[in-house]
């Protein structure tokens, strides 16, 4: 970098001669002054409201500028009290929540019980179009503010009551023992009055209660966050600020990192994985994240819901050489899956290595036999549907198909079926228009086994796109939710997971890792279980 400054001036001189413009620009992120780091970002898809942000890029910002009742430990993923002083319940259905004293928003307003209740009511209300509204569906009165059909008949949920400045009660519509542990999710953070009184102004420059405050926000290109010096929590930022820069292409971000213009990239492009070790050495991180990739099946289709279908699905699962695909295509940034949750839960938290057993082990001979016993592939061919626009899905779908074709000794047994855009792919898979297996990825909202099972496999659940339905599974999940003893709840969830396995409701493929690379200026970089960098712990210089 230093040796280059000379040359840059030379280029600038040419620039001046050619275009007769000033010689601005230049200078790397180091010139931004102080211990501020720059990090890659992409434009959030939805407006930056807490209950409206359902992807990592928006979540990144919320994680910096907000703190909720609970917070998931960046290392272990365990839910720990943050703003909550205590949760009191006798029946796992009625909760009294006390908020800690001394917390304020960065504009000076006090965080009170009302800050939470107002925020939750806003998030649940149908007229606010919040995409995470269903997170509030356990609270009594949700069906009035967010009816499945027609106009809403109430503005606030009857299950929420403010008792005094620091306490409020929550009444759920069913027993849910791990409810407090779900409250670390971004949708449950408190909101200041400014959010309601001057909504447009708030969106232009969000105000929260986290370790960072937004200094400026240029939509679509850059957000500057600075350390909030009066932050009352223990996890205050160890740097002076973070500048998030929007990149259209993660390859450009990586190039900028190599050139010293960017400090942190948290999405290493697949094409660079091969050389990332030699480029960055030990300034590269590859850790498990709460993401699992599976192949879902159209259980609403008769062809996939016959007596022999389970065997066909088991056969397909055994025909996939996960080990080889994760090694050659993903360079070890994904790990072959052996259950339906994620290693980030930890064995006590519900992850059970090897739960899938032999059904997830590669054995072409057994695969062929199982599929034949099950009556063969429906229509003689499986088409794996995926979206071709992002995430290099084509690569692995082709590899999975190759693996299946080799196992069955038939090169027309499996083909990929690309769909142009993610939106179109989602619209086809959520309206039951697909007639073969399709790509399904799941990123956890909170580190609980419930989050890996209920939304995906419970009858008519929000992400049960294949419309799988099994009474035994539903009963086990209900029982596990009502269980007050954590160990017993985990055990019951694992029993439910065994039902998923015995029916091979979906084929688990691999657990996805989060990756990050950083410049020499940074140290103490880590990723949390949601594969978001833990910005407040990063040290600069």
């Amino acid at each position: 970098m230093h040796g280059a400054t000379h040359a840059r001036w030379a280029v600038c001189a040419v620039v001046l001669a050619l275009a007769a413009t000033g010689c601005g620009g230049g200078g790397g992120s180091a010139a931004d002054g102080g211990a501020v780091l720059s990090s890659s970002w992409t434009d959030p898809q939805n407006p930056l409201e807490p209950a409206n942000t359902n992807e990592v890029q928006g979540g990144k910002v919320l994680d910096m500028i907000f703190r909720g009742l609970k917070r998931y430990d960046p290392k272990t993923g365990e839910a720990e009290n943050m703003l909550a002083e205590k949760f009191e319940t006798t029946d796992s259905q009625n909760y009294t929540i006390t908020v800690k004293d001394g917390w304020t928003f960065s504009n000076g307003e006090k965080v009170t019980a009302r800050s939470f209740v107002d925020a939750w009511n806003y998030g649940a209300s149908l007229r606010n179009n919040q995409k995470n509204a269903y997170f509030f569906s356990y609270i009594e009165g949700y069906d009035k503010v967010h009816p499945a059909k027609g106009e809403q008949s109430a503005d606030t949920m009857s299950g929420l009551k403010v008792l005094d400045d620091r306490t409020f009660t929550v009444r759920l519509s069913q027993k849910f023992s791990s409810f407090p542990d779900t409250l670390g999710y971004n949708a449950f953070v408190p909101l200041p009055r400014a959010f309601f009184d001057d909504h447009a102004g708030w969106l232009a420059k969000p105000v929260g209660n986290g370790p960072y405050a937004v200094e400026s926000y240029t939509k679509g290109s850059e957000m500057r966050l600075t350390r909030w010096n009066a932050y009352p929590g223990e996890d205050a930022a160890r740097n002076d600020g973070v500048t998030l820069k929007v990149y259209t292409d993660n390859n450009t971000a990586y190039t900028d990192l190599m050139a010293g213009n960017l400090d942190l990239v948290d999405d290493i492009p697949a094409q660079q994985l091969r050389n990332v070790r030699s480029d960055l050495g030990d300034r590269y991180l590859n850790t498990p994240a709460g993401i699992i990739q599976t192949l879902a099946f159209p259980h609403y289709d008769k062809d996939w819901n016959k007596p022999g279908s389970v065997k066909v699905r088991q056969g397909l699962s055994r025909a996939i050489d996960r080990e080889q695909i994760t090694r050659t295509i993903f360079q070890g940034t994904r790990t072959p899956a052996t259950d339906w949750t994620s290693p980030v839960l930890g064995t006590e938290g519900g992850y059970k290595e090897g739960l899938c057993g032999e059904w997830c082990e590669y054995d072409p001979a057994a695969a062929k036999k199982l599929i034949e016993e099950g009556g063969g592939l429906p229509g003689g061919q499986v088409k794996i549907t995926y979206n071709a626009d992002t995430g290099s899905h084509k690569l692995w779908v082709d590899a999975v198909c190759n693996s299946i074709n080799n196992a069955l000794g038939n090169d027309r047994a499996c083909v990929g079926n690309p769909i142009g855009t993610f939106a179109d792919f989602r619209s086809k898979s959520t309206t039951q228009k697909l007639s073969g297996p399709f790509r399904a990825g799941w990123q956890m909202d909170y580190p609980l086994p419930q989050n890996f099972l209920q939304p995906l496999y419970y009858t008519n659940a929000s992400s049960n796109d294949g419309k799988w339905s099994n009474q035994e599974f539903d009963k086990l999940v209900d029982r596990a939710n009502a269980e007050t003893d954590l160990a017993k709840a985990v055990e019951t969830f694992q029993k439910a997971e065994e039902v998923v396995r015995d029916n091979m409701a979906s084929i688990p493929l691999w657990y996805q890792n989060g990756s990050a690379g950083w410049s020499e200026r940074l140290s103490n970089v880590s990723l949390n279980p949601f594969s978001v960098p833990v910005y407040d712990q990063i040290k600069v210089g």
């Binding site: 040796g3 280059a4 040359a7 840059r8 030379a10 280029v11 600038c12 620039v15 050619l18 275009a19 413009t21 601005g24 620009g25 434009d43 959030p44 898809q45 939805n46 407006p47 359902n54 992807e55 149908l126 007229r127 179009n129 995409k131 509204a133 967010h146 499945a148 059909k149 969106l203 240029t218 939509k219 679509g220 290109s221 850059e222 929007v246 990149y247 259209t248 292409d249 450009t252 971000a253 190039t255 900028d256 190599m258 050139a259 010293g260 213009n261 142009g420 855009t421 993610f422 939106a423 179109d424 989602r426 619209s427 086809k428 959520t430 399904a440 990825g441 990123q443 929000s462 992400s463």
Partner: protein, 307 residues
Amino acid sequence: MGQYVVRRLLQMIPVFVGATLLIFLMVNVMGDPVAGLCGDRQCDPATAAQLRKEFGLDQPVWQQYLTYMGNVFTGDFGTAFNGQEVTELMSTAFPVTLRLTIVAIAFEILIGITLGVVTGLRRGHPVDTGVLLLTLVVISVPTFVTGLLLQLLLGVEWGWIRPSVSSAAPFAELLLPGLVLASVSLAYVTRLTRTSIAENRRSDYVRTAIAKGLPRHRVVTRHLLRNSLIPVVTFIGADIGFLMGGAIVTERIFNIHGVGYQLYQGILRQNTQTVVGFVTVLVLVFLLCSLVVDLLYAALDPRIRYA
């Protein structure tokens, strides 16, 4: 002349309506955009219905189109899914792309025409062969290869420039992207100018001019070049419209937040409002460019007159 311009402007109306209708229909065929807003899970049906209603997606396509066009004439291009007004997106994206286009066109004119004149006057000369070969290479290598290669060499290996353009995108930072964007057209401009100059060199009026005893530079610039520029001007005029909308690849490589970036994102997120809005403006730019080109003909060649 005035009558001609009015007639041309009137002709733009059907072209404009047809182009926007086509784009509108094409984006619609791509399917339901709301499903993509909720990540890998299903939007809850009530919220999805509410969103569809808000964006007018619950109405038949023809009605959506009419409402949209009605709004466009009042200056309202709708709202993108992230809550930003499309006009706001345009006001940040178009200046950036305009600067990029200006840089690219400047390169085309300066380098392209100069090389064209030099080679055209020295046909068969080693300089001519060399430039011809060079243009052949430039034309046959795809833009993204040139772009990535130069970015890696100048930005990372030698550290002369920043590999990416900052969000303010000043002219100085747009030089390399502009050169990359212009490279292929530049090669075409060189070849067009060269052929045209070589052809006109033997024409009667050039011989007359030389016979009159005019200095060589005056013959070349006033007589030869001016008459040879007509095909080149046509090409560059059409290229302005093309560069404004076709910079998707270059803008992605250098992380320029211009029109290409907004279009790319709009298409990925199936954001009808963004895509149709931007394409509508691009159609207008294209139409105006071709009008200006036609008017320039008359200025360059006195034999052409518009009644």
